[in-house]
Amino acid sequence: MKTLPILTATLVLCGLVSNATDWPQWGGNDPGRNMYSPAKGLPVNFDPGKLKPGTEDYDLKTAKNTKWIAKVGTQTYGNTTVSGGKVFVGTNNETPRDKKHAGDRSIMMVFDEKTGEFLWQLVVPKLASGRVNDWEYLGLLSAPTVEGDRVYLVTSRCEVMCLDVNGFANGNDGAFQDEGQYYVGPGKPKAEPGPRDADIIWKYDMMDELGVFPHNASNCSVLLVDDVLFACTSNGQDWTHSNIPSPLAPSFIALNKKSGELLGEDDAKIGPRIFHGIWSSPSTAKVNGKQLVFHGGGDGVLYAFDAKPVKEGEDKFLKRVFWADCNPPEYKMKDGKPIKYPDASGPSEINATPVFYKNRIYVAVGQDPEHGEGVGRLVCLDATKTGDITKSGVIWDYKGVHRTMSSVSIDPVTGLLFLADFSGFVHCLDAETGKLQWVHDMKAHMWGSTLVADGKVYVGDEDGDFTVLAASKEKKVLSEINLGASVYSTPIVANGVLYVSSQTHLFGFHDSARAATDEVPKVELKPKKP
C-alpha cells in the first residue's frame, strides 16, 4: 500500500510524527540544531523556592511557576531531552537512585514528564583507564536522542548505545543481553537488572572497534538522519597533551540505527591535527538536494560530509563536500612563529555544534574549560559551496566573541542571533549581516548555550544565575534568578515547559496560570527537514 508511506512522509514534513512540542534530541526538532523553540507562553519569572530543611528537595509550596524539580547527581553536564512523556538527562551517581549501583558511575536518568517521578536509569561504569579517558564524576554528557521506542546516546565509555525507551521494565529486548555485567563493569560480579534499570538494545564500542583514544570524556549527542546515526568519537590526546595515541582513528562516524553496524567513517584524516579532542556534536541539512552532515573538527575546521557513505576498497567513507578552517591566520602565527596551542591568543578546536540555518552554517571556536579564556571567532559560512571554503565561503565573521563551547540560537522572528561565550558574555548579532547589536555581561563562565523562544533568550552560568533576556535589538534583562548550583547545561522547551538543569537539580518551569487552564501552547509547525 503506497498511501501509508506518502502519509508518513507528509506528516514527517509537517513535524507531526514526533510530537512537535517534544524536544527529542539536542537541538529539539530542528536537525540543523538551532537552539530555538517555537513555543509560546513561556514564563519570564519563576522561582524554585526553598529547600526543605536538612534535605536537597525543594518545597514546591514556596515555588513560583514551577512544574516539578528532580534531584539529579552532583555534576550534570548532560542536556535534557523530552519525548513520549519522558524526560531524559545525563548526570553522575552522587545521588544514588539504586543501592545496587554504588560509587562513581555515569547516569542517564529518566523521569515522568507530567510528575517528575523517577522511572529508570542507565548506569555506566567508569573506564578502568581512569581520567585520561573517562574523568571522574563527570557523569553522562550526551543528550539522548529519542525516536519512537529507542534512545540513542554516547556513553562515558566511548560507546554509541541504543536503549529501549521503556527501560528494563518490559523485559530484556535487543541483541545485547548482558546488562547485569555491563552495569558493574568487566570482571565484576554481575548485578541483577531490575525494572528501574536500562535495557540495552545494542552498543558500539568506539575504543574497541575503531581504536579511538577518547580524551578525558566522550560526549556526543548523536544525530539521527533516517536510519543512520552520526557521532563524533572524542578521539584526542593522551595524558601528556603532547601525543595523539590514535592518529588514524576516525573523528566522525555513521552507524546503522537498528544494529549499530558501522556504515562509514570520515575521510578527513583529522587525527594528526587534533589540538586536544573531538567533542563537537553534529547537525544536518539538505543542501542543493544533498543531505549533508556538519562536524566541528578537533583541528578547528568545520567539515560538511555527504551523509551517504561511499565504499572505497574495504572501507566506507563519509566524503567531504566542503570544509573551512575557522581559525584566522592571526590566531596561528605571530611574528613568523606558530602560536602554540592552548595559548590564549592562539587557535582553538570546535566544541560547539555547527548550526544550520537558511543555507548557512554558524559556528564558533573554543576550548576545554580547563584551558581558560582566550580569543574566539564566530563564522557564518555559505553551505551551498564546495571544496575548501575557508576564504570563499565566509559570509561574515565576528571576533568579538571569546572562546566558546556554546552553539548559536537564531530567532526566526527577529533574525537575531545569540551566542554565549566562556568568558561570560552573551552576544547578540544580526544573523544575516553579522552586525553586533549588543553584549550582555553575565560575569560568570558559560558552558551551555542560549535558548531563544517566545521573544526571550534563556541562559544559565557558572554562578548558578539563570537569566532571561529580551530577544530584541535593544538589550533588556527581563529576569534573573539563582538556581543554587552552577548551570552548565542548555535550557530546552517541551510542551510548554522550560527545562534547565543545574549541577544538582533538574527544574521544570512553566506558566502556572496557563498550565492550570490546560491551554495548549501555541506551536508554529515547521518542516522536519529542510
Binding site: T74, E94, E136, Y137, W239, T240, H241, S242, E370, G372, E373, F422, S423, G424, D441, K443, A444, H445, E462, D463, G464, N482, G484, A485, S486
Partner: protein
C-alpha cells in the same frame, strides 16, 4: 623585628617586640581589620601572616614593562613554577623546575629542582641549588608553568629555607644554598601535584599532604633542624587538596586552619588544628582544594577554589561547628585557585572569568561584582596598610581601593604572566614570571 616571629607571635616575641607589634598592628587593624606583618621580610606564601597582609602603605601603584616605570630590576630564572618568591633581608628566594632542552618526553623525566637566591637590591644571582628530586614522576602538567613541579612556595625562619617540590620531596637549605636535610614524602598519591606550601610553627616545618587516595591524606610536622618527623595527623575521610594551611590567633590562641575535601563537599572540609601537635579542635562542612582560607574580624571565609559554596564561619567553636557557627554561605563561587582576603568589613574574592566579588563579611550580602580585565585568578591578592588590594602577578595586575565602591587605582602589565603570587618587602614587590624575577619599587 624578625617577621618569622609574627607567625608564632605569642610564643616567641620579646616584650619590646610585642609592644612594637601591638602598636602597628592596632593601627592597621583599624584599616584592614586584621593582624598584619612588619615590612622587612616576606617569609612564606602570602607573607608573614599567611593571609596576604602587609604593613606597607607606599608601594608603587603603577609599573610597566614597556616604559620601565617603577621596574627596579629583572633577573632571568632557570625554569618556571607557581611558587611565590620569599624575601629575607637582602635575599630573594624562588623555586623553579627546569627541563633541559634535550628532554623530549617530559612525562618520563623529572625536571631539575632549582632553589635560587637573588640579591634583593639589584637582582644579582647569588646562588642556585639543585635539590635532588623525590620519587614521583608526574604526568599531569595541566597546571602550567614548571609542569606543577614547583608549585609550593618556600618558607624561612631566617636561618634555614624549607622548600617542597612536586616530585614529593621536602628539603632544608641554609642561606648559602647548602642542603641541610632532604626528605622524600611517601606515599605521594596527590592529585595533579603536591601544591601545598610548607609553613612553620615554633620548631617545626609543617606540610599538608592531602591526597587523591583517601586514607593517605595527612599533615606532617618535621623538626626544623633535623627533618625528623615530630607528629602527624591523618585525615581518613579527606580527599585531595592543594591548599596551604594558615595559622591564626583566636582568643589569643593559635589555630591552624587546614582546608581539603577533594572535588566535592565534605562534612569536614575546614578543620582547625592545634599547630603544636595537630590535634583537631573543630571542623566545618564545605569544599576545599586550591585556595587558603581568609580570616579577619572574627570570620573565617573559605571556598574550594575550584567551584562550589563559599562559607563564612566563626572560628570560636569546638567539634562540628557546621550547624552552630556558620554565619553565611554563598551557594556557588566559581573556580578561583588563588585565595580570598578580608579587609575591614568586606570579603574580596577574585574568581574566573576575572570577576571580583565583594561581600559583607558579617552577612554575606553582595556588595559588588566587577570585572578585572585580563587577570589571572591563580595569584593571591595582597592588602596593604593604606587599604589597597594588589591583585598582582608578573602579567596583568589590578590595584583597587578597598571599600564598598569598586575603584580601580591602576592596571599594570609586566608582560611575563605567571600564576605565582607576589611578595612584598621593604617597600618593594617581587614577582616571579615565566622568564624573569621582577622587582617593583620607587626608583631613587
Amino acid at each position: 623585628m624578625p617577621l618569622k616571629r609574627l607567625i608564632d607571635l605569642d610564643q616567641t616575641l620579646s616584650r619590646k617586640e610585642r609592644g612594637r607589634f601591638a602598636r602597628f598592628s592596632m593601627t592597621l587593624f583599624l584599616l584592614a581589620g586584621a593582624q598584619v606583618a612588619g615590612a622587612g621580610d616576606w617569609p612564606q606564601f602570602r607573607g608573614p601572616t599567611g593571609l596576604g597582609y602587609t604593613e606597607e602603605k607606599n608601594l608603587p601603584l603603577k609599573w610597566s614593562a614597556k616604559t620601565g616605570e617603577n621596574v627596579l630590576w629583572k633577573s632571568p630564572l632557570k625554569g618556571a613554577g607557581h611558587a611565590s618568591p620569599i624575601v629575607w633581608g637582602d635575599a630573594v628566594v624562588v623555586c623553579t623546575a627546569y627541563w633541559p632542552p634535550e628532554v623530549a618526553e617530559r612525562e618520563k623525566v623529572i625536571p631539575e629542582h632549582h632553589v635560587s637566591c637573588h640579591q634583593a637590591g639589584d637582582g644579582k644571582p647569588l646562588w642556585d641549588t639543585l635539590i635532588p628530586p623525590g620519587p614521583w614522576v608526574r604526568k599531569d602538567f595541566r597546571s602550567g608553568a614548571g609542569g606543577g613541579y614547583a608549585a609550593p612556595t618556600p618558607v624561612t625562619d631566617g636561618k634555614l629555607i624549607y622548600c617542597a617540590f612536586g616530585s614529593s620531596v621536602l628539603a632544608a637549605l641554609d642561606f648559602q644554598g647548602k642542603i641541610i636535610w632532604r626528605k622524600e614524602i611517601v606515599p605521594y598519591t596527590f592529585d595533579v601535584t603536591l601544591g601545598s606550601s610548607p609553613i612553620l610553627y615554633r620548631d617545626t616545618v609543617i606540610l599538608f599532604c592531602a591526597s587523591a587516595k583517601k586514607g593517605d591524606s595527612r599533615i606532617l610536622a618535621f623538626d626544623k633542624a633535623s627533618g625528623e618527623e615530630k607528629w602527624r595527623q591523618q585525615f581518613p575521610e579527606m580527599g585531595f587538596s592543594h591548599s596551604t594551611p594558615v595559622i591564626i590567633q583566636v582568643n589569643a590562641k593559635p589555630q591552624m586552619l587546614v582546608l581539603g575535601s577533594g572535588g566535592g563537599n565534605s562534612a569536614k572540609a575546614l578543620q582547625s588544628l592545634d599547630p603544636a601537635d595537630g590535634k583537631i579542635r573543630w571542623w566545618c562542612r564545605g569544599g576545599g582544594d586550591a585556595s587558603s582560607p581568609a580570616y579577619s574580624s572574627g570570620v573565617v571565609y573559605f571556598d574550594s577554589g575550584r567551584g562550589g559554596a563559599g562559607v563564612a564561619v566563626d572560628p570560636a567553636g569546638t567539634g562540628d561547628v557546621s550547624e552552630t557557627h556558620i554565619r553565611w554561605t554563598v551557594s556557588q563561587v566559581p573556580e578561583a585557585i588563588g585565595s580570598p582576603v578580608i579587609v575591614g568589613p568586606l570579603v574580596y574574592r577574585l574568581h574566573t572569568p576575572g570577576v571580583l566579588k565583594c561581600w559583607e563579611a558579617a552577612t554575606g550580602k553582595l556588595v559588588y561584582a566587577e570585572r578585572l580585565e585580563g587577570m589571572t585568578t591563580w595569584a593571591s591578592p595582597i592588602a596593604d596598610a593604606a587599604g589597597r588590594l594588589f591583585f598582582a602577578n608578573a602579567g596583568v595586575t589590578h590595584v583597587i581601593q578597598t571599600g564598598p565602591e569598586f575603584r580601580v587605582l591602576a592596571v599594570n602589565d609586566l608582560g611575563d604572566s605567571n600564576h605565582a603570587s607576589a611578595a612584598v618587602a621593604n617597600g618593594r614587590m617581587f614577582l616571579a614570571g615565566l622568564k624573569n624575577l621582577h622587582c617593583i619599587g620607587a626608583k631613587p
